[in-house]
Symmetry: C2
Subunit: 155 residues, 2 copies
């Protein structure tokens, strides 16, 4: 794995996200890393992140898929540009579309492992495919369509 | 609007969801109601539910879409059966698939209004279409494919 998480390269102004911002003390503060051509994020749900008893609620899964997806999109854009993450000009992505298929209930008493692959890079858009596993089984699959943040929202 | 929220009809065993369980003190405890053929849920984000500063993070939007969708599916199943919500046998749905299109940033300083319509009821499956508005503008659209909870997960 790379040493520093994708999210730890984000500028301070983009680090307040509830899902992935290192400066949001209330949030999940997920961390994503390259592992070869895949990116990996491990996240341990809290006992109260339940759907029905014993299983992780789908909104948390969607949240982690989303932020791992946009983080992977940013990291992939830097890779494609041949520059280290955090160098200028910055690449920062937002989510245009999020799709999650829940294949089986995700146990709440184990870490989730998310693995993502870049399915497509085209102009300002990156499509990322994500699998969510727990206890060695794939429990959900997701797709994130990430687009570079519009000029109007830039900080 | 109906007097009692969909979620307040859920059995105790199904009321621990982080998104919609009235018995989960950590969670969002969303409430959904019929308004004619549509169901409505209003939810006010907390200041720390940020994506980029000033806007709601997509994972919260996905979470509320998800739980409003499954709640609407349950309410619709009771309606289709001609029985009041909470009567036996119970209908309880889980999410098979969740899709959210983020059309524009959702302001964090205002309540979100979710409106849902049943697009299809077929056997144990209900497809629900959801719009998310804030300050009078549609900011996101979602679709929830909800299925009746499998026997193996029943409480």
């Amino acid at each position: 794995m790379t040493e520093k998480a994708f999210q730890d390269h984000y500028k301070d102004a983009y680090s307040v996200c509830y899902g992935c911002g290192r400066l949001n003390p209330h949030g999940y503060q997920i961390k994503s890393y390259w592992q070869g051509e895949e990116s990996v994020c491990r996240f341990t749900p809290q006992p109260y992140h339940t759907a029905i008893a014993g299983y992780v609620y789908g909104g948390l899964i969607a949240s982690v898929v989303d932020c791992h997806g946009t983080g992977t999109a940013a990291a992939a854009a830097f890779r494609a540009a041949g520059r280290p993450m955090g160098s200028e000009p910055d690449f920062r992505f937002v989510t245009a579309s999020l799709q999650v298929d829940y294949l089986k209930p995700t146990p709440i008493d184990a870490p989730m492992e998310l693995r993502a692959k870049v399915a497509e890079i085209k102009g300002r858009k990156v499509i990322v495919a994500v699998t969510v596993s727990s206890k060695g089984q794939v429990c959900a699959r997701g797709q994130v369509v990430a687009v570079q943040i519009p000029e109007s929202l830039k900080h």
